[in-house]
Amino acid sequence: MRWKSLARSHSGVVGLVLVVAFTLLAATAPFITAHDPTRGNLRAALTPPGQAGYLLGTDELGRDTWSRIVYGSRISLALGLASVAFGLVFGVPLGMVSGYYGGGVDSVLMRVMDIFLAFPRILLAILVVALYGIGFWSLVFAIGVADLPVFARLVRSATLTYLGRDFVTAAKALGARDRRVMGRHILPNLVGTLAVQSTFSMAAAILIAGGLSFLGLGVQPPTPEWGSMLSSARSYMRVAPHLITYPGIALAVVVLGINLLGDALRQAYDPRFRGKDA
């Protein structure tokens, strides 16, 4: 990691702080919340923020909004990480094989990737959910499947640029097998590119997960999730606008943090930005 160039960008530092803050929130959830996120007190339903010991108020079932937001960060971060990992695990080898061997394998794989890219991301996710039902892993598949062609295309074009380089030719001349050339000589050069794309993919994945849950096709109540919290808050917009405000802020801030971090990473790894202050 290029920590120095990262530290030089102010927005990158802000992004990193936000991401770390949300990770801590997710990790320490039981210690920083006073109420159970799924069990409510009906007599305290729709309490406005700051009253009766409820920092951010309560929802229609009297559940503490702060607790639900804190616990909600767990599922959002987990879905984001897992679906990006899915895209990496399947997309990177596919792209590498495609770029390395070229020819017919390459054309066929890239045509298939084009087909997947023709589906708008949320629609592909909806199609998968419609087929496999709703559950953590089917959501990971639904969200991550759209990342697969993105990573595959990225890795393919990066592989092509390294293919003719001397260190690759040297490795081949020394008798290294294809797998070793790809894994030991080409892959380490792609770490920066992949880190940048993974960051942006994770931001997008968290937004898609929230969107699916908002549509009722993602994480199901009573599990606390920001998108589904916003969805149920719609019915109480007039009487309890705070239910709309806070989950959205949480979602926007975590995605903003990840995007800022991604921007800073891109500048740190892109040679065109090197040496310039961002």
């Binding site: 045509r111 298939v112 023709a118 589906f119 909806i126 916003l230 926007a252 800022l260």
Partner: protein, 306 residues
């Protein structure tokens, strides 16, 4: 040139066939028997067998695919499980609504995003630049469904200026169009800025300035024009995404477009409608992308079509 156009057409044809195979196979990968689903929970075994025969579900999959694809090409998307009537006319009704909404969003994104990007690039690293770029990162980070709800809360419930749902009049169109445009607006502003920053350093821009051309003419006629082709491509790709990506906006504002149709169909486990909607959207996206590619060739003389 002609060879390039033909090859792109060939690629799109392959993509369209691929899309239709994915969408077709998806129904047959569902857990459960399509015939039992068609019949509903009350159907007897004989009735289900009858349905299987009527819909050709006892034939091999490739045969089923070909006859399905043939019917789709004639505009026959089958019968909706939920509504019990043909899906084709419903799709034909919803599709232009989604396109109309996407065009509205795209118009806002282009009309605001590009000048904002130019302004930011010209005032690089100054307050205007930081404001535009800050707003643009925020715009890309905020979830559409949240912004939409906040707009409803403010403009519909508190101020009472605009309706929160419905379709048919211009006032129904404003909030959804703004909602759908935000992400594209932010993206276009960022993209225009970063390309303009580089273009403003080019020799021909310096020449234009040296011969005394007014600032506005230097910015828009010389610098922006040189970076227009990739921006046009980006606009085209966004249009494709907007047609299908309007799922959330259409649901929040009850716009009777394709996206909402698909979401409602998923909720009702109405697979033929899901299939038809997804197929239409994906086909529209790839045809729009083709159009953009071909347009690119005409806009940018530097593109070599080999």
């Amino acid at each position: 040139m002609l060879a390039y156009v033909l090859r792109r057409l060939g690629h799109v044809l392959v993509t369209l066939i691929g899309i239709s195979i994915i969408v077709f196979v998806s129904l047959h990968l569902t857990p459960g028997d399509p015939a039992a689903m068609l019949g509903g929970s009350q159907a007897s075994d004989e009735e289900i067998a009858q349905l299987r025969k009527i819909y050709g579900l006892n034939q091999p999959l490739p045969v089923q695919y070909l006859s399905w694809a043939g019917r789709v090409l004639h505009g026959d998307f089958g019968i909706s499980f939920r509504a019990g009537r043909p899906i084709g006319p419903d799709l034909a009704h919803a599709f232009p609504i989604s396109v109309y909404l996407a065009l509205g969003g795209l118009f806002l994104a282009v009309a605001i995003g590009i000048p904002a990007g130019v302004l930011a690039a010209v005032h690089r690293d100054r307050a205007i630049d930081l404001t535009v770029m800050g707003l643009s990162v925020a715009g890309m980070s905020m979830p559409v469904f949240w912004i939409s709800l906040i707009m409803v809360l403010f403009f519909s419930l508190q101020l009472g200026w605009l309706p929160s749902s419905g379709w048919g009049e211009f006032r129904h169109f404003i909030l959804p169009a703004v909602s759908i445009s935000l992400a594209s607006l932010a993206l276009l502003a960022r993209m225009t800025r970063s390309m303009m920053v580089e273009a403003m350093l080019e020799d021909f821009v310096r020449t234009a300035r040296a011969k005394g051309a007014p600032d506005r003419s230097v910015q828009y006629k010389h610098a922006l024009r040189s970076v227009l082709p990739p921006i046009v491509t980006a606009i085209g790709l966004r249009f494709g995404l907007l047609v299908g990506g309007a799922v959330i906006t259409e649901t929040v504002f009850s716009v009777p477009g394709l996206g909402r149709m698909v979401v409602q169909a998923v909720g009702a486990r109405d697979f033929p409608t899901v299939q038809g909607g997804v197929l239409l959207i994906a086909a529209a996206v790839s045809i729009i992308n083709l159009a953009v590619d071909l347009l690119h060739v005409f806009v940018d003389p530097r593109v070599r079509y080999t």
